[in-house]
């Protein structure tokens, strides 16, 4: 087995380079000027104009109405990521608690009603979803941006799997001590789920931050644009321009990818735990 090691490392290094170099190129190229990029192509070395570019992208009033800046889009992305993650955790913990710890009529039916949502992704029902949203007057609102995305059972599924792995003895002991369902949930189950909550928070924040199709449909008002929506915007402006703002596009891409990447890398052990232990 030892003889094979250099070969194994070679494959791993090649694979890692293939995976990581696009990110490195995006970060490095964003620090060059547009004219420089236009003349010399993409770059793997820093260019020294990074500060101006990022300042422009973050503060310049862009769009048709001049009401949207990079900072604003970033804030909207944070709102979407946070709102989605928190909403998902609250809704799905409550629902999973009911499904695992209570005996009531139609429990099985409710299980299927909720878990059928895992079968059909948003992409196949975009048109009617849009009509429902516009009928409810929720276009261009944060509610319309966040709440409909909660209608998938991923979080409920994660928590259900986790609650099932909690030993039955805990509930028995709690009942002997006279704890009711609310007590048990707050004093036993929530403290026990801390790691799981953290893991799901990371997964869901990244998921919310990275949403594209839904924000694109929901927001025509530029004040509600997220960074992902901004990426589409900056490409549309390009059509017909002499030297496209390559540097600004790259800077926007870096701003859009950095928070989720940093989060996942820093909390990778939680993240992997949350992802692999409950997704099967």
């Amino acid at each position: 087995m030892n003889r094979m090691k250099p070969f194994d490392h070679l494959i791993l290094i090649l694979g890692t380079l293939f995976m990581v170099s696009p990110i490195a190129i995006a970060v490095m190229t964003s620090t060059h000027t547009a004219a420089d990029i236009h003349a010399n192509g993409l770059s793997l070395l820093p260019g020294g104009h990074g500060f101006e570019t990022y300042e422009t992208v973050l503060t310049r009033q862009g769009g048709f109405t001049g009401q949207v800046t990079g900072t604003r889009m970033m804030m909207n992305s944070v709102i979407l990521g946070l709102g989605f993650a928190v909403g998902k955790i609250v809704f799905s913990m409550l629902a999973a608690y009911a499904l695992v710890y209570f005996r009531f009529r139609f429990a099985t039916v409710m299980f299927w009603v909720i878990f059928t949502t895992l079968l059909l992704p948003l992409e196949v029902r975009i048109m009617p979803s849009y009509q429902v949203m516009s009928g409810l007057g929720l276009l261009n609102t944060y509610t319309g941006l966040i709440v409909p995305l909660l209608a998938s059972a991923t979080g409920t599924f994660y928590f259900r799997q986790f609650f099932k792995s909690v030993p039955d003895e805990l509930l028995e002991a709690a009942r002997i001590d006279g704890a009711g369902p609310v007590r048990f949930f707050i004093d036993v189950l929530i403290p026990l789920s801390r790691t799981m909550i953290a893991a799901i928070f990371i997964i869901m924040f990244v998921y919310g931050w990275n949403q594209y199709l839904w924000p694109m449909l929901m927001t025509t008002d530029e004040r509600f644009f997220t960074l992902m929506r901004g990426i589409k915007q900056i490409l549309q402006v390009w059509i017909g321009s002499q030297i496209p703002d390559y540097n600004e596009a790259f800077a926007l891409a870096v701003l859009a990818l950095l928070p989720p990447v940093v989060m996942v890398v820093v909390f990778q052990s939680w993240f992997i735990k949350g992802l692999t232990e409950s997704d099967k």
Binding site: I11, G15, P128, K164, L235
Partner: protein, 321 residues
């Protein structure tokens, strides 16, 4: 949560049981449960409200709309039975896009699983540097499809793209955005790139869930590394690989929407697109609500069949595996 790390015999039945546990559906509910008439409904209420409003209502709407032709100016709708379906499936454009979707899905599914698995198997073997490789690969997982599409577009850009310049060295005049197959190539490369980390993470954690006793026994029984992988490790990974295959298929069919949207820049005239993108184009650009809904329903049916197939297959493995 379900894979024990110790106390497993290395007999064939032990392996079969481990495999069954890797793929087993969740066990039955708790032995002890609360009995309250109202509380569970209160707990379920927020989730049920959201699911009803934003999942069942639009899904039902899609099915209903698919049987009607809606007046583009909003003056009512006419019931046309299965005409929308016939129009969709009958058009040569739909057949061509369906053909591309199938090809795209197969290539993306196979390549991202194969590369992810290769890297995971290698990362599982080496000890030094494993955390570094893992970190590097996980970083890519967090990148959103539209951002990947943007970076991909730059790498494949006519003027500045490194990949286009590289291809030119071999006499390949790559014209992404103009040439159908060059665009398809770029889309596949970016889609595979983005999906490799997911496959890597799952295969690696699947490999690490295999008890060392099993590996040691296999090492004694069989000295040929490749054969050992094929006869011992691969069967144990089969449920993970199958799960990933389904995930990859749904990814290629649906999650690549943003990537395609960014890469073809709203000008799909001569560019390859997938069926989901056509649903969006016909619905929002073409204002053909009935046609778009019929295509939605066809896609829903495809996903349902895929998922049922997955459940059935996994169940069979548990009972007879």
């Amino acid at each position: 949560m379900s894979v024990p790390s110790t106390s497993l015999q290395t007999s064939p039945s032990g392996i079969a049981r481990l495999r069954a546990r890797l793929a087993a559906p969740p066990e039955a509910a708790k032995r002890v449960q609360f009995r309250r008439p109202l509380l569970p409904w209160l707990l379920l209420a927020p989730q049920l409200a959201v699911v009803a409003t934003f999942f069942y209502w639009p899904s039902a709407q899609a099915v209903i709309s698919s049987f009607y032709i809606e007046d583009p100016f909003g003056f009512g709708a006419t019931f046309v039975g299965l005409d929308n379906y016939a129009d969709a499936v009958g058009s040569s454009e739909y057949i061509r896009i369906a053909g591309f979707t199938v090809m795209f899905t197969v290539i993306v599914t196979v390549l991202s699983l194969a590369i992810g698995m290769l890297l995971a198997v290698k990362a599982d073997k080496v000890i030094r540097g494993r955390p570094a490789y893992r970190t590097a690969l996980i970083a890519v997982y967090a990148i959103a499809p539209p951002v990947a599409g943007l970076i991909g577009m730059m790498l494949f850009d006519q003027h500045i793209g490194s990949i286009v310049r590289f291809a030119a060295l071999f006499g390949w005049n790559m014209q992404v955005g103009l040439s159908y197959w060059d665009t398809a190539f770029a889309m596949i490369v970016v889609a595979v790139w983005l999906q490799i980390p997911y496959n890597f993470i799952f295969v690696l954690s699947g490999l690490q869930a295999i008890p060392s006793a099993v590996r040691e026994a296999a090492l004694i029984d069989c000295r040929n590394g490749l054969r050992r992988f094929r006869t011992v490790i691969l069967p144990l990974l089969a449920p993970t690989a199958f799960f990933l295959m389904i995930i990859n298929i749904t990814y290629a069919l649906f999650d690549t929407f943003a990537l395609i949207d960014v890469m073809v820049k709203d000008k799909p005239a001569n560019n390859p697109i997938t069926l989901v993108y056509k649903v969006y184009l016909d619905g929002f650009r073409g204002n053909d609500i009935g046609g778009s809904s019929a295509q939605s329903v066809i896609l829903m049916a495809v996903v349902l069949v895929l998922t049922l197939f997955q459940f059935r297959y996994i169940e069979r493995r548990v009972h007879y595996g």
